[in-house]
């Protein structure tokens, strides 16, 4: 798809609560990539997409947050999130939430139609073919579940990563298998989640990659946390950081350079 939109397109960045709170550098990487592609980026006041409530069965809270989010991004041509999971919530599940409220359903459908995951937006909507970034290393890419299955993110990040100078892409076994994060699942069913992420950690290690990338911070924190607990020396980053060439901050879960652990 290459029906490129005429810049400057007004893109609302749905930064996602995890990036907002835990790793702002991913947000700035997203902004840089969008601006490089000619977009005007705005950041409306926001909290969370509502998934924790939605997936815990609390529909009322999920709806309240969805209403708030839809209103906040009203003036944007597109809404872009550096996460397949949150983008999937906005694009696939908001319409489902309001299926029984005709007035809101119209709004939710219109909103959903303009929501995208960052990397697929760059490639599929904006027609970005390559990035100007440099990263030395052998990189494995983990296909986060919602990005892959709800938003169709698979080839786009690999395509852009191949254009990063110095970067060598390796495929790990079972890249499409879940890492065991699942939001609250990781805490509620910690032992089960651990068993699943242990498999992922082993697959990353076996791939020979020195860096693991993905498009969702939740999965990344899960995998990084496990690999670090196991003492494996693989750097873990959000794919946007590498694509934007913003890798000065330490990798996920690593201390500041020079600081003693």
């Amino acid at each position: 798809m290459n029906d490129a939109v005429k810049p400057p397109t007004r893109v609302g960045l749905f930064v996602t609560c995890l990036v907002d709170l835990m790793r702002p550098s991913v947000g700035f990487a997203a902004v840089k990539l969008l601006e490089q592609a000619g977009c005007k980026v705005v950041v409306p006041s926001q909290t969370c997409c509502g998934q924790p409530a939605y997936n815990s069965g609390d529909r009322a809270t999920a709806k309240a947050i969805a209403r708030q989010t839809i209103a906040a991004f009203e003036g944007c041509d597109y809404v872009v999130a550096p996460s397949g999971s949150c983008a999937g919530m906005l694009a696939a599940h908001y319409p489902e939430l309001f299926a029984d409220e005709p007035d809101m359903a119209v709004k939710a459908n219109a909103f959903a139609a303009k929501c995208h995951e960052l990397v697929s937006f760059l490639v599929d909507r904006l027609g970005v073919e390559k990035v100007s970034a440099r990263y030395e290393g052998a990189v494995a890419y983990h296909d986060s579940c919602s990005g892959l299955r709800e938003m169709g993110v698979k080839s786009q990040p690999r395509k852009l990563l191949e254009s990063v100078e110095g970067l060598r892409l390796v495929e790990m076994k079972d890249a499409e298998v879940c890492c065991g994060f699942g939001g609250a699942f990781a805490v509620k069913y910690g032992e089960l989640s651990d068993a699943i992420v242990s498999q992922k950690s082993a697959a990353v290690a076996a791939s020979g990659a020195d860096t693991l990338l993905a498009g969702d911070l939740g999965c990344l924190m899960n995998i990084a946390g496990k690999m670090q607990r196991e003492g494996r020396a693989v750097k873990v980053r959000h794919v946007a950081e590498v694509l934007a060439g913003l890798t000065d901050d330490p990798p996920i879960g690593e201390g500041a350079k020079g600081a003693k652990p």
Partner: protein, 475 residues
């Protein structure tokens, strides 16, 4: 309820399963279903179109289930068979026991049937002094072991070859202790020889059904061992136990569904045997039973019609969802604690035994969506698990800690200004504590995380706070 339920202690089951080295070894070797299915799908370009038509067939059938059940019953009667309706497990068992007793049956052979597992038929038969002999190799093995199936199409997937050899040596005591059982073929040969006698001496043969065809009154079973055929042809009486959603309108519909069934299950184009039974032996038939009975089980299914769980009734029991499930793959089937494991079990179990007892299962999912991706009937399994979570939440069945945590989070998430200020302060504080190492090995309230993994420390001020500082205004 005749089948033991350990679903409420799911977490303890998980713990045991993860520490069961034999089970873990077996699970690691059960990977090839995934590759086989993928290759079968690749060989059939119209597979996704077939899934659509399979789904449409079942949706249509469910929308008119009453009509098709009547039509089916009429056809079964016309062909000389009998249909018995059973509201629940107890009724179904009573019907089967009645049929056996009236005919003075001492021994019954059984083809593989998950419905017979659901109603606990073997226990009911044994309690009545009737010997029940499982004839599917996997079922035979777990029957020797006193276990239940851990997978709906590969019931003994958790058992290793060594275990089977030990079980056979223990059970088949009249055979020479020095015999060689080191090869799978030898185990198979021994089971075959023993079962051959059982087939010939059984008074009643009980099978399940993959499909019940309204057009002809036929029941269809698919097997790879041919044991189902011997079970239903050799004894004097054939009893089919099946649940009512197995109905399909026509033979052509059944053929469509067969095209997706084996490919999704084992990656075969077709199972080795696809066997149709229509009524008892007719004059001039060279073989077949003298009597043909169908026990049609409801057991909570009709209540699913018209509910948000109706789509689950499309399930054709291929097992693809569990073969592709990271949770099933980690713990195997027994940990789920009732009859049906994996994603289909996580949806079906609360429907059939109640969400109060089965509620753990739909919660124990990452919503990775791989089950829905491979389901030949396009059943939205994650969506229905979420519906169960909604039912739990409405009925205040979710744990207090989850509800109160969610409440606090929701309070802030619904107030953006307050959220921005408080999260900014909190992240700055956490950054100061965790910045040197970049992560935490322990933090309060998230023990479920930090017990197994380190937790990334935040980078400091939040993105929204930095963005505002950078752009100097709110957009």
């Amino acid at each position: 309820m005749t089948v033991a339920v350990s679903t409420p202690r799911f977490k303890a089951n998980v713990h045991e399963a993860l520490h069961d080295e034999r089970l873990q070894r077996a699970l690691r070797h059960s990977d090839n279903f995934v590759a086989r299915r993928a290759s079968a799908v690749e060989r059939l370009p119209e597979f996704d179109a077939l899934r659509d038509s399979a789904r449409a067939i079942k949706d249509h059938t469910l929308a008119h289930l009453d009509l098709y059940l009547e039509a089916y019953e009429r056809k079964v009667s016309e062909s000389g068979g009998n249909v018995h309706y059973a509201r629940d497990a107890a009724e179904a068992n009573a019907i089967v026991l009645g049929l056996c007793r009236e005919r003075g049956a001492k021994a019954v052979t059984k083809g593989k049937s998950m419905i017979s597992e659901e109603i606990g038929l073997n226990a009911a038969l044994e309690a009545a002094g009737i010997e029940a002999i499982e004839t599917d190799l996997g079922e035979y093995i777990i029957q020797l072991r006193g276990e239940t199936p851990s997978h709906i199409i590969a019931p003994a997937i958790h058992v290793s070859r060594d275990d089977v050899e030990a079980d056979f040596r223990r059970a088949h005591r009249d055979l020479p202790a020095t015999r060689d059982l080191s090869q799978p073929e030898q185990l198979l040969g021994e089971a075959r020889a023993i079962l051959r006698d059982k087939f010939l001496s059984a008074d009643v043969g009980i099978t399940g059904a993959n499909f019940l065809v309204a057009e002809t009154g036929s029941s269809i079973i698919v097997t790879n061992e041919g044991n189902g055929d011997l079970t239903q042809i050799l004894p004097r009486v054939h009893v089919v136990v099946a649940s009512l959603e197995k109905i399909v309108p026509t033979l052509a519909d059944a053929a469509q569904l067969l095209r997706v069934l084996a490919r999704s299950a084992t990656g075969q184009d077709m199972s080795v045997y696809t066997t149709l039974s229509t009524g008892p032996r007719r004059p001039g038939d060279v073989d077949g039973p003298e009597e043909y009975h169908v026990v049609l089980l409801d057991n909570g299914r009709s209540a699913m019609l018209g509910s948000e769980f109706e789509d689950m009734l499309r399930c054709i029991r291929c097992g693809a969802c569990m073969n592709h499930c990271p949770v099933y793959h980690a713990i195997g089937g027994h940990a789920y604690g009732w009859v049906y494991p994996g994603p289909m079990g996580a949806v079906l179990t609360p429907s059939l035994i109640g969400v109060a007892e089965g509620g753990q299962l739909p919660n124990a999912s990452t919503f990775c969506g791989r089950c829905e991706e491979v389901c030949p009937m396009r059943i939205p399994l994650p969506k229905m698990m979420r519906h169960w979570r909604e039912r739990e939440f409405e009925r205040h069945l979710s744990p207090i800690a989850v509800r109160s945590g969610l409440g606090v989070w929701a309070f802030f998430a619904k107030r953006p200004a307050l959220y921005r200020l408080s999260t900014d302060l909190m992240m700055r504080a956490m950054h100061l504590i965790g910045r040197a190492r970049g992560r935490f090995s322990w933090l309060p309230f998230v023990g479920g995380w930090t017990r197994y993994r380190d937790l990334t420390a935040p980078q400091g001020a939040t993105f929204q706070s930095r963005w505002r500082a950078r752009s100097g205004s709110v957009q």
